[in-house]
């Protein structure tokens, strides 16, 4: 693979920088002073509920909207046709010419992005092969199922081998097999030094894929950073236990025990270290199948943050 991650470095480490960006529609601030930095060569999650301002943010990056205030830099340049050919954009509202054949459609999209027709056709066939769509190449788009159309559109998004790939809800409407296929492709791009922006309201998906995320709500950034760091920040001193023992047997000073379905949650006070508690259980000869810290997921963090904010 060519070193496209390197050739365009021009000393800038960030793929994208947003600085105090504001976009107002009819008096409503759809994006309200968002600043964020998207590092190169990672999958960046742009997360938030429906209507949070994710798509508006993306549309400003892709130069569909101009920000009312603030500044955007993509590989050091402002949004516009100068950087457009380095971006591959899969909009949330998919769109393909219904009456066009799949392969022609892909060649058309490739040619618009300056890929010569022959090369575009070759790459498109390779992708169709990989996505199990080769036999549909000569069918009209309208004959394809929603899921197939989505895969075709994804191929159209990346056919010109862009440095920045923006995917707005790329998994919606795909079955688990195809989701896995797509994840693999996305991972492949990152491995080759590409930057991926992954926008979704389905937080568990982002949790699996992204190294960095930004959570937005009502047009404002709620939090951002490395997923692991965010999780560590919000981690609670709670231990998950898998055991047949009764709740009473597990009680100790500074340990609050609750049974949930299938497992037991133990909230430890600061006075009781997890190791000490585990030692205590061993000394009572209680059989334990699993013992570990409770992972907090992004969804819980998001709910917690939004709740705290509104208080």
């Amino acid at each position: 693979m060519k070193l496209s991650g390197v050739y365009a470095y021009n000393g800038i480490m960030e793929a994208i920088e947003l600085n105090q960006v504001v976009k107002t529609f009819d008096g409503t601030r759809a994006v309200d002073g968002v600043s964020l930095t998207i590092p190169r060569g990672t999958i960046y999650g742009l997360l938030g509920p429906n209507g949070a301002g994710k798509t508006t943010t993306i549309r400003m990056i892709t130069d569909i909207y101009r920000p009312d205030e603030g500044e955007i830099r993509i590989f050091g340049d402002p949004p516009g046709y100068r950087v457009q050919h380095r971006i591959g954009y899969l909009p949330e509202e998919r769109g393909l010419y219904r009456k066009m054949k799949v392969i022609e459609q892909l060649v058309f999209l490739g040619e618009l992005k300056q890929v010569p027709a022959k090369e575009a056709r070759k790459r498109a066939m390779e992708y169709l092969e990989r996505f199990d769509l080769a036999e549909w190449a000569l069918k009209k788009v309208e004959q394809l199922s929603k899921g197939m159309q989505q895969k075709v559109q994804f191929i159209g998004t990346v056919l010109h081998d862009p440095d920045l790939i923006i995917l707005d809800e790329p998994f919606s409407g795909l079955d688990p097999v195809n989701q896995a296929l797509l994840k693999e492709e996305i991972q492949g791009f990152v491995d080759r030094g590409k930057t991926v922006i992954f926008s979704t309201h389905v937080l568990p998906q982002a949790e699996q894929l992204c190294r960095d995320i930004c959570l937005i709500n009502h047009g404002k950034k709620v939090l951002d950073g490395h997923v692991e760091e965010i999780k560590a920040r919000f981690a609670e001193p709670v231990i998950l236990l898998t055991t047949d023992a009764e709740v009473e047997e597990l009680r100790a000073d500074g340990a609050h025990v609750v049974r949930r379905n299938g497992h037991v949650e133990v909230r430890l006070d600061n006075s009781l270290a997890p190791e000490a508690y585990l030692a205590e259980l061993f000394s009572r000869h209680i059989p334990i199948q699993a013992f570990g810290p409770k992972e907090i997921d992004l969804e819980s963090i998001f709910i917690k943050v939004v709740k705290d904010e509104s208080l």
């Binding site: 549309r59 971006i87 954009y89 769109g95 393909l96 066009m100 022609e104 999209l109 040619e111």
Partner: protein, 411 residues
């Protein structure tokens, strides 16, 4: 402006249309349809020629012998049969029994009253009846003249109609015109009008399609709207050009292979369309097409559904129709102030300037100015349409107001 992107859009618009079955069906059906309009009446005429049989009741024999002689000499196949009876019931029976088309009664006092009666199954057979009428007329008049001592040959000359030949005076000398120049102007008007209406709506739908299928979001992040619009307009124009070339070739083949020998070929031969006029036709056709195409593209960009856009699209036709209403005035005074001013209004120029060129060559600077203004208008309208397209795209849901449109153009 990125020409390679313009070409990619052009190629898509062109190939996607030309490769459809619909394109070929319409390309073939249209000339067949037009051919039918032209040839069926001719064929019907031929048929009527053969079948027009008339019984004449002329007891005093004032009209019959000469009429029979004249009709037999003529190239029209009207068969005149002398009746054996004066019984109208029997005559009616024969007519209804389809032995004859009708019967003609020549009263004894026909020379004084100038009245004859025709009874037929079909009295709406205009061609056959008017021919018969002409011959009866000539015969009666010749007979009246004969009674006053004028020979049949002289009579024939006396009643000869005056033919009115018109000549157009041009710098290249006199030219036999016969009003064909007006006919050609109007024919070209109609062609332009038809093409603009038909292909304009193609452009409208093409722009709308991108919006309804949401392809637009990918497009605007890839290509600037101006080359996108231009690519579309030129691509669809090329489709029309292809279609017209096919028709032109078909027509040429038809005229050279089928028509010689018929009277129509002779008439076509006398049509005074010069090379210069043909070139102007082409130039104004292209300019007119592009101007209205850009307008249609703009309307397509403004709205989100064909129903909404259709209302506005109807309005586009208005500046197309106005010149047709003005034609009469222009023809009266092709180089007057009013004609000059009107023909320099860009949306009117293609039709009115062309008409002026056909009628009486206007000063060259006016033609050049008209063409220049048209070119500027094309660029300006395409630019505005592109702008509206670019900004109006994501205003889905509500119809834009004129205030909105103004804001988008300034954005």
């Amino acid at each position: 402006m990125n020409l390679s992107n313009l070409f990619v859009v052009f190629k898509r618009e062109y190939l996607q249309r030309v490769r459809t079955v619909t394109f070929w069906i319409s390309t073939i059906i249209f000339p067949v349809f037009m051919g039918a309009i032209v040839f069926i009446p001719i064929l019907i005429g031929e048929k009527q020629k053969a079948e027009f049989k008339v019984v004449i009741v002329d007891p005093s024999e004032i009209v019959y012998p000469m009429l029979k002689e004249e009709l037999d000499k003529s190239r029209h196949n009207i068969e005149l049969i002398k009746s054996r009876t004066e019984d109208t019931d029997e005559l009616k029976r024969d007519v209804l029994g389809k032995k004859y088309n009708g019967y003609l009664i020549i009263p004894r006092d026909v020379l004084e009253t100038g009245k004859v009666q025709y009874y037929g199954r079909n009295v709406a057979n205009v061609i056959g009846l008017s021919r018969l009428e002409t011959y009866v007329n000539r015969t009666v008049i010749a007979t009246r003249l004969g009674e006053r001592g004028i020979s049949r040959e002289d009579a024939g000359q006396i009643i000869q109609r005056v033919e009115f030949d018109t000549y157009k005076v041009t710098e290249k000398g006199e030219q036999k015109d016969k009003g064909a120049s007006f006919f050609m102007a109007f024919l070209l008007f109609l062609t332009l009008y038809m093409v603009i209406i038909l292909y304009g709506s193609f452009i409208l739908r093409s722009v709308l399609e991108e919006k309804t299928t949401r392809v637009v979001e990918v497009l605007v992040t890839t290509i600037k709207p101006f080359p996108l619009m231009m690519g579309k307009i030129i691509g669809i124009a090329a489709v029309g050009f292809t279609q017209y070339m096919i028709w032109f070739v078909l027509g040429a083949v038809l005229f050279t292979a089928v028509l010689p020998g018929t009277g129509m070929a002779k008439e076509m031969g006398t049509m005074p369309i010069t090379l210069g006029q043909s070139i102007y036709f082409f130039v104004f056709f292209i300019l007119g097409y592009f101007m209205y195409a850009a307008l249609y593209a703009g309307v397509g960009a403004l709205y989100n559904s064909e129903q909404e856009a259709q209302q506005m699209a109807t309005m586009i036709v208005i500046p197309l129709i106005i010149p047709i209403l003005l034609m009469q005035a222009i023809m009266g005074d092709p180089n007057g102030t009013m004609s000059t001013v009107l023909s320099l209004i860009p949306l009117f120029t293609p039709l009115l300037m062309y008409l002026r060129i056909l009628l009486e060559t206007p000063p060259a600077w006016q033609v050049a100015l008209g063409i220049g203004l048209c070119v500027l208008t094309v660029i300006f309208l395409t630019w505005i349409s592109a702008k509206v397209y670019r900004v109006g795209i994501f205003m889905t849901g509500k119809k834009p107001t004129f205030k909105d449109i103004g804001r988008w153009i300034r954005a």
